[in-house]
């Protein structure tokens, strides 16, 4: 398998983004109230997917695929007593991980499919390659 080559500029950008994500989440007081409106936690019942969980690892600037387990619905932000912009931090962490070649393979495949067929599953259901066709 071909290894993802990372340019120096991407490396610096990724590092800056992780720093920014960490700064956003640094004020988290670990109260856990974010879990009450999190649809991912409500479904999986796993602390690791909660905003508190992500804050704990992102505060330490750790890149982990758990940041992709989020719907970016901002439910946690509504419940956060400090109004921490959790989703901004998650977006930045995701961007940093993609720059470092640590994004999700399934996401890359989906983007490839959209570019080739206009459909996330790679199905040829439309005629115009410039348009996005849903499933």
């Amino acid at each position: 398998m071909e290894k993802h080559k990372i340019s120096e500029a991407d490396r610096i950008e990724a590092s800056n983004l992780m720093e920014e994500a960490s700064d956003i989440l640094d004020s988290c007081i670990k109260c856990g109230m974010c879990k009450s409106l999190c649809p991912v936690f409500k479904t999986l019942k796993e602390e690791r997917v909660s905003a508190r969980g992500k804050a704990i690892i992102l505060s330490d600037k750790i890149m982990n695929k758990v940041v992709f387990e989020c719907t970016l619905c901002k439910g946690c932000e509504q419940k956060c007593p400090l109004g921490i912009k959790v989703c901004d931090a998650i977006r930045k962490a995701r961007e940093a991980m993609v720059l470092k070649g640590k994004g999700l393979k399934s996401n890359e495949e989906m983007i490839d499919n959209i570019r080739k067929t206009g459909n996330p599953f790679g199905k040829n259901i439309g005629n115009d390659p410039e348009k996005l066709y849903c499933c």
Binding site: S27, I29, K30, C31, G32, M33, K35, S36, K45, E46, E47, R48, S50, R52, G53, I56, I57, D60, I62, N64, V66, K79, C80, P81, L82
Partner: protein, 372 residues
């Protein structure tokens, strides 16, 4: 478990950081039994909202038993007003389910949106409505536990005290049969009070009113932070129409109350204590807290105060505990002892706790290093 993900389970709302050997999230009794028989040291975790470090694993040797997936609500007996549920059920999820039947579980800690029933039983949670509904153990019919040998057993009211309020040192609470109360329509009033003596007399008078289900106190500092005038304030909740605030306004005020802890924590007051004292000693304790500029709120109806200490003020905690003991109070009214308050437990209480621990957990497996 991946070491980065493990970090998530090494912290709780106390903000203490520990270290775990592993994390397991069982989905049924058989899995819990297997984990218990195969593991040396287990720390039981509910919602991780404790403020005393009760579920923080230590020394890298504890396996965290996350009970969040044990979340089945099973049998509701509408006539007898009881329900059987698993320990990982979240209180507000239970309330949502019960509201369809015009019923509720009346004990309500501030963290009701995320707290688990198992955690509430283990800490014998009190909450805002303790003045009327007392504590969690008063609303339990029986619990099902697993001991350190992996044996599943039911414990009735007479043996409940070995588990409720024991913060998980005696065994794993798996299921419980809860008593329920008819759902109430509630209203509230926000009272402004000029001095501490008046607070005491107003509270004394309110406690005689059987419709009052909650009396919450905020000192001047907390009142100011909440956007009220710089006076003492009381939130009084009624289970009838006596309160001035109804429906949306009532809900808004209660939501503001629930936000206090995280709100003060953001201002640097991260250590929240929970001494319990009699109402006639309230002024003495409050005067001391004010002399040290320690913002305070609490469930004044049942004598539980929440002084909020910042990092610099933490040196006053042991002095406050001494004062609380001198005033014949308790060092912890509801948060539990966990790791943070171990040093303040009286020798006689410690002996009792050690006896319970030896009797219920002879293999010394559960929450070792907590409480005692």
């Amino acid at each position: 478990m991946n070491k980065d993900i493990k970090k998530i389970y090494e912290v709780d709302a106390s903000q203490l950081k520990g270290s775990a050997l592993d994390v397991v999230s069982p989905t049924n009794t058989e899995e819990v039994r297997r984990i218990i028989t195969q593991t040396k040291n287990i720390v039981i975790r509910g919602a991780g909202t404790g403020l005393a470090g009760g579920c923080v694993p230590q020394h890298g040797s504890d396996v965290v038993l996350d009970m969040s997936k044990m979340d089945k609500i099973s049998e509701l007996d509408k006539e007898r007003r009881t329900i059987e549920i698993e320990a990982g059920v979240i209180l507000d999820d239970l309330q949502d389910y019960l509201s369809d039947f015009n019923l509720e579980f009346p004990v309500k800690p501030s963290s009701h949106a995320v707290v688990t029933i198992g955690g509430m039983i283990a800490t014998d949670a009190v909450g805002n409505r303790a003045i009327k509904y007392r504590k969690t153990s008063d609303w339990i019919k029986w619990i099902e536990i697993i001991d350190s040998f992996g044996k599943v057993e039911k414990r009735g009211i007479t043996e409940l005290s070995d588990y409720s309020g024991m913060e998980g040192i005696s065994g794993v609470i798996m299921r419980a049969c809860l008593k329920l109360s008819p759902l109430k329509k509630r209203t509230a009033t926000l009272l402004e009070v000029d001095n501490l003596d008046d607070v005491t007399s107003v509270v004394r008078k309110l406690k005689k009113n059987s419709a009052v289900s909650m009396i919450e106190f905020f000192d001047k500092e907390i009142s100011k932070e909440l956007g009220f005038d710089e006076h003492y304030h009381l939130i009084v909740e009624y289970e009838d129409d006596s309160g001035e605030l109804k429906d949306k306004e009532y809900k808004k005020l209660l939501a503001l109350r629930d936000k206090i802890y995280p709100f003060v924590a953001d201002k640097g007051y991260t250590r929240i204590e929970d001494p319990k004292i009699m109402l006639d000693r309230f002024v003495k304790l409050m005067s001391w807290l004010e002399s040290k500029n320690i913002p305070t709120f609490g469930h004044i109806g049942v004598g539980i105060l929440h002084p909020c200490f910042n990092h610099e003020q933490e040196k006053y905690i042991s002095e406050m505990m001494k004062l609380v003991k001198r005033l014949s109070g308790q060092i912890s009214g509801e948060h539990g002892v966990g790791i943070l308050k171990k040093e303040f437990v009286e020798m006689n209480d410690k002996k009792i706790l050690i006896n319970v621990k030896k009797r219920t957990d002879p293999l010394n497996k559960f929450n070792v290093g907590k409480v005692i």
